[in-house]
């Protein structure tokens, strides 16, 4: 059975360079200028899973993102991987949206794309890292969700069998479609865009919507949470450096640890 799959993606600052993020001491605002953006790595696993399912079952793969204008680059990258079409939800009024508001905007955007059978997401983003959007999106679309998926098997016409990771094992979950499923890293190895893919992607459509897409009444959904303050974590200790010949240093360290009953 061909499936219409929608993949939700997010553009994030490169986590390898998070240590370059600083705090403006005057305003308390985050300074992240010059840090390159990438597509959230887990979202690329979600795109890959969608492409694999399309290869097996047929159908279409659409990607959707909410973000600033430059997030379009992530949509283009997904098209270059092989997605059929893309959409970006972009509006000044979406800035600072928390997971609840993001899920509502995405739900409206997804409805505007037409019918769908399956929605895939990365389990969490490397920046916000809440992992909350997928279950909340499912709630606003009134469909079931499964998070932490490490394996998805399509089970006949209208259901998927999912292995979802928990501490010390996994749960086997049968979920009716349409559903929202968020995936973990181990589910697949994602492909990189090829030159052919990049050329083909240039032809494909990217739909753009502002807050007029929001249901009901084009109203921007409210974010219940607020960032009250950001501060640099200061959990420093006073270190005692032990130096000298290694035999002496080792002996001294073990002696001190025993004294403190740490051994």
């Amino acid at each position: 059975m061909p499936l219409n799959i929608i993949v939700c993606i997010k553009q994030v600052p490169d986590p390898e360079q998070f240590d370059r993020i600083t705090l403006d001491p005057a305003t308390g605002a985050i300074r992240r200028a010059g840090i390159p953006s990438i597509t959230n790595p887990l979202d690329r696993h979600a795109i890959e899973e969608a492409l694999l399912i399309r290869e097996r079952c047929g159908g279409t793969v659409s990607v959707i993102t909410m973000g600033p204008p430059q997030a379009k680059k992530s949509v283009e990258d997904a098209l270059a991987m092989g997605a059929d079409r893309g959409a970006i939800l972009c509006d000044q009024a979406f800035a600072g949206a928390d997971s609840l508001a993001t899920a509502r905007v995405l739900a409206s955007g997804i409805r505007s794309l037409g019918t769908f059978d399956l929605i895939l997401c990365g389990n969490e983003s490397v920046d916000g890292a809440t992992g909350q959007v997928a279950p909340q999106l499912a709630e606003f679309l009134d469909i079931p969700h499964v998070t932490c998926a490490k394996k998805i098997t399509l089970d006949g016409e209208a259901a998927a069998l999912v292995e979802r990771v928990i501490e010390g094992g996994y749960l086997r979950v049968e979920v009716t479609l349409p559903a929202v499923i968020s995936v973990v890293k181990g589910i697949n190895h994602y492909r990189l865009p090829t030159a052919m893919g990049i050329m083909a992607a240039a032809e494909r459509e990217i739909i753009e919507h502002g807050c007029s897409v929001c249901e009901p009444d084009s109203a921007v959904p409210e974010s219940p949470t607020r960032v009250a303050e950001v501060f640099e974590s200061s959990l420093k200790r006073t270190v005692e450096m032990l130096s000298g010949e290694p035999e002496v240093v080792a002996g001294e360290l073990l002696h001190r640890l025993r004294e403190m009953e740490a051994l």
Binding site: P15, F18, D19, L23, I30, S99, L100, T130, G131, Q132, V133, A134, P135, Q136, E139, I143, P144, H145, T147, R164, I166, E167, G168, G169, Y170, L171, R172, V173, E174, V175, T176, A179, S223, P224, T225, R226, V227, A228, E229, V230, F231, E232, S233, L235, K236, R237, V239, E240, M241, L242, S243, P246, E247, V249, A250, L253, L254, L257, A262, L263
Partner: protein
């Protein structure tokens, strides 16, 4: 009376540690609010666990039992929890940030149209503009920043709690409280997502969270003998082996042994970090260790800023000495 509600997760017939950690935090918050603590317990045959929650500080437990609720069922658990919360109208709802807690809490928050903060490492009450607000502290940007989040105008204020960060309370078997049994109305439509079974993948080792001594290695071991010295040092200390994200990327440790923002948070008595420079997204995973020892080649590595004892030396020189002395002492002791 203002209420703080927790969802108590059951795993293998007992209350999950993080739920007891969350429960203790809830009792502290309730004290500040002059309120009470209630727990939602969903499962099958878990009255004993309900009593345990009372012994650990809950004033009241909603006990929801049905044999179809033995395993986590996302649709049903979310509906039941949201219905109880909507009726009780608590100030605060807390859930442990396990893989299941992180699945349930967002869906419940969406049903209640309220805010939810993930992976909190601290929670406290502050009065802002005359109203008591829950300050929710989460690590941001790989752990080098801390972010305070509030939910000023919506109730309940909801948060998930990072496992291993907060302390468990103590049990008092003489403590009494109210158990309110609830028989949920369940129909077929409630199983759109149906958990069929739980498959356990046996972990041979002690879970890191329970280890008293942890020896953790980083990329600095590259080019020497890899992880073998770490394993020998851990064995000599009777501790557990762990590592940084780069150590995991090198294939030296499994994901279950990775420390930090994207891995485990631990609070052992002794944490020995070897060959890791001390990036925040790593150190955030063991900041609450009682004693931290850092060993790294580079005397300027930031790891020394958060350690109690530091040794800046070639790893190939110092580690064998430590192992030898530990093994010799062991020998003399016996």
């Amino acid at each position: 009376m203002r209420q703080v509600v927790i969802w108590a997760e059951r795993r293998d017939g007992r209350i999950a540690d993080v739920s007891l950690e969350t429960l203790r935090k809830a009792t502290l918050l309730a004290k500040d609010l002059d309120g009470s603590v209630a727990a939602i317990l969903i499962g099958d045959g878990c009255r004993e666990s309900a009593e345990e929650l009372i012994h650990y500080g809950a004033d009241q437990v909603w006990l929801v039992e049905d044999n179809r609720l033995d395993l986590y069922q996302s649709d049903l658990y979310a509906r039941i929890a949201a219905e109880i919360i909507a009726e009780a109208k608590p100030e605060i709802v807390l859930m442990g940030g396990t893989s299941i807690g992180m699945d349930l809490a967002p869906r419940v928050a969406a049903k209640l149209r309220t805010g939810l903060t993930a992976h909190c490492i601290d929670l406290y009450i502050e009065t802002i503009d005359g109203r008591d607000q829950l300050i929710q502290v989460v690590p941001g940007w790989g752990g080098q920043m801390m972010v305070k989040i509030t939910c000023p105008d919506h109730r309940p204020q909801m948060a998930t709690v990072r496992p291993g960060v907060m302390e468990k309370g103590t049990t008092d078997v003489t403590r009494t409280g109210k158990i309110i049994p609830i028989t949920p109305a369940i129909c077929e439509d409630d199983f759109r997502a149906k958990t069929l079974e739980m498959v356990k993948e046996e972990e041979q080792e002690t879970p890191l969270e329970d280890a008293e001594i942890i020896v953790s290695g980083g990329f600095g071991l590259y080019g020497s003998e890899g992880f073998e010295p770490i394993e020998r040092l851990a064995a000599a200390l009777h501790g557990e082996v762990a590592g940084t994200r780069p150590a995991f990327d090198q294939g030296w440790i499994p994901e279950s042994r990775m420390i930090g923002q994207s891995g485990k948070t631990v609070r052992p008595g002794l944490f020995v970090s070897v060959g890791a420079s001390g990036a925040m997204h790593y150190t955030t995973g063991f900041l609450k260790a009682k004693v931290i020892v850092a060993i790294d080649r580079n005397p300027k590595a930031p790891i020394f800023d958060i350690a109690d004892f530091g040794i800046a030396d070639n790893l190939d020189r110092i580690i064998p000495c430590l192992i030898e002395q530990l093994e010799n002492q062991e020998y003399t002791k016996h």
